[in-house]
């Protein structure tokens, strides 16, 4: 039942983010399937975790296969000041995503997820240029592929 496992993995990623945030009061974390975000209504920092997909990579041994679970993470925050978002504001957001999300999800040294999944592949769209320019919205997308053979 790979989809049930995918949901478990997404929930575990959500829990890990929530449990390790340095500033939990200023961030809302939730697991979602779709994102319908109106830029004007974005308040505070929002983190979304999305189940992305499942891939079977063939047998690992006689008992189990290698399975991949792709999890997407989107971080959204609106710049509410006048004029375009200043460089310093963006620098702080990039460093926040790196320290609070990227480093804690894609680094196997942070511990196995659910005791048996490790990050195999990771990529990060650091920010969306168009949304930033047109909507003053900081939008950062990460995709982590977890692998297991249990």
């Amino acid at each position: 039942m790979p989809n049930a496992r995918l949901i478990e993995v997404a929930d575990a990623v959500t829990d890990r983010i929530e449990a390790t945030l340095d500033d939990p009061a200023s961030t809302t974390v939730s697991r979602e399937y779709t994102l319908d975000i109106k830029a004007a209504s974005v308040t505070g920092r929002l983190v979304y975790v999305l189940p992305g997909g499942v891939e079977n990579q063939g047998p690992a041994n006689r008992a189990t296969d290698y399975d991949h679970y792709k999890i997407g993470v989107v971080v959204v925050e609106r710049y509410t000041g006048t004029g375009p978002a200043p460089k310093e504001w963006l620098d702080a957001r990039l460093l926040w995503v790196e320290s609070q999300i990227w480093n804690r999800l894609q680094d196997v040294r942070q511990g196995l997820l659910l005791g048996c999944l490790w990050p195999q592949l990771s990529n990060w769209l650091v920010y969306d240029y168009d949304l930033l320019r047109e909507k003053k919205l900081f939008w950062s997308e990460l995709e982590i592929t977890y692998r297991e053979d249990e």
Binding site: N61, R62, D149
Partner: protein, 157 residues
Amino acid sequence: MASLGILAKAYRNTASYGTPTWVEIDKIADLAVNPSWDEAEGGSRDSRVKKIAKTMLGIEITGRIKVDTADAGYIALRDAMYTDIAIDLLILNGASDGNGNHGWRADWHVFEGGEDQAMGNRLYMDFVLRVADTANDPKYAEVSGGAPTFTDPGATS
């Protein structure tokens, strides 16, 4: 039914030799069974054809098992690697209740237990089994009537 490596079985005896309880070691990834007879020349003047006698049978098994410190099968192989313990294993090319499946039963020593700890690796132990010098002679195993039956290698009918 197709004979596939992934459906082959390695069983570990967790009870006595005479009344075995076979428990599958399912964390094995790859395994190769390599029986090989030694040869001795048997030619004479009665024929110009070279004749060869089979003498001693060597049985070596090479395999690879997932490192899992919660798995009793892995622990048994690992412990047998660094001690003199011989483990009673039944190595079959299918399930122990599948008529016609065959393989070997013996007390085995684990002679090698390599582990490639490259940074990108999931850890596996590469092992080599050879027949141990114990009171239990190794047997050829064949499943008949839904259970393994054992005969001495080299026996003639």
